[in-house]
């Protein structure tokens, strides 16, 4: 085989500011954020005119809003910006890894080949950041809606059993961070490895069904991340006891 299969779990840094490494997946996530922001700005500047693209975007955003409303009828306005942002960022970040040129355009450094682009969510750092952000937002929404009583859920001193249950709840919040991060990272990174291996074995046509599968997986993982955040937020603001 002329070239070896190049798969690396950690995103490769493309340049450094001193100790801080700017990785190729950070670059792609910046580009995805820029893309989404440009669409939002375009939509806002053209809000008076009619256009098919506007109708398309409106349909998607409104049906997602109805979905958020069906899960939490009274607080949809509060949650929708965060949940929709998570959904669109995860979806487009995962789809960005399927574009031609990802993981293939790069330069040859002394320790190997360094690709310039890599799918945004195929990097554990970015998914971990998203997961921490989502779980902290859940706590913030809980505090905003219930006040300091929200933290009684974790520190419940009425009797030893409740104290233990509260402690388990605290542990499960941290477990949620790891679960979010690894679910998204595992799905998207495994998809990239699959595509690389298939393309390595059969260079033509055989990748097509797998790219279709990856499109589907990107959409579902975005939906799952956003829906899980929404459901946990719902649980957080509901007053059980």
């Amino acid at each position: 085989m002329a070239t070896a299969l190049h798969i690396s779990i950690s995103a490769e840094p493309i340049f450094r500011f001193g100790q801080f490494e700017f990785t190729n997946s950070m670059l792609v996530s910046l580009l995805v954020s820029l893309f989404l922001s440009l669409i939002a700005v375009w939509f806002y500047n053209h809000r008076q005119t009619k256009s098919n693209l506007k109708l398309f975007i409106q349909t998607i955003v409104e049906s997602f809003y109805e979905f958020v409303q069906s899960v939490s009828p009274h607080h949809a306005n509060q949650f929708f910006p965060l949940i929709a942002t998570i959904f669109f960022f995860v979806m487009f970040g995962s789809w960005a890894g399927l574009l031609p040129g990802m993981e293939t355009i790069g330069y040859q450094a002394d320790h190997g080949f360094v690709p310039l682009f890599r799918g945004a969510t195929a990097d554990l750092n970015i998914t971990l950041g998203l997961a921490i952000f989502a779980v902290v937002s859940i706590q913030v929404f809980g505090y905003k809606n219930l006040g300091p009583k929200y933290f009684k859920k974790f520190f419940n001193f009425t009797n030893p059993i409740n104290f233990f249950v509260g402690f388990l709840e605290l542990i499960s919040e941290f477990a949620r961070v790891m679960s979010f991060a690894f679910r998204l990272f595992g799905n998207i990174f495994a998809g990239e490895v699959l595509l690389a291996v298939i393309a390595f074995l059969v260079p033509v046509i055989a990748s097509l069904p797998f790219i279709g599968l990856e499109l589907f997986v990107g959409l579902i993982q975005g939906l799952v991340f956003a829906t899980l955040t929404l459901v946990f937020t719902n649980i957080a603001i509901s007053d059980h006891h």
């Binding site: 798969i7 069906s70 595992g186 799905n187 939906l223 829906t227 459901v231």
Partner: protein, 78 residues
């Protein structure tokens, strides 16, 4: 113990990790979806609610398979 008798990154170990790790989630997802289908069959009006909860449950179950896949990838590529 023979030194280096079984390396943790040997292909058999990596394959066994993901193979064993996929059994539980596969059974779990099958059970979840079958119960969801039963529920939809009994009450077709609640189909969209059942579907939402089913997708959530499937995501939780699949995450376990993904954990074992990540370990297998780490063993193979790091």
């Amino acid at each position: 113990m023979a030194a280096e008798a079984i390396k943790s990154s040997s292909d058999v170990i990596v394959g066994a990790t993901i193979a064993l790790g996929g059994i539980g989630p596969a059974i779990a997802i099958g059970l979840i979806v079958s119960k969801a289908l039963e529920a939809i069959g009994r009450n077709p009006e609640a189909a969209s609610k059942v579907q939402t909860v089913m997708i959530l449950g499937v995501a939780f179950a699949e995450a376990i398979a993904i954990y074992s896949l990540v370990i297998a990838l780490i063993l193979k590529f790091v």
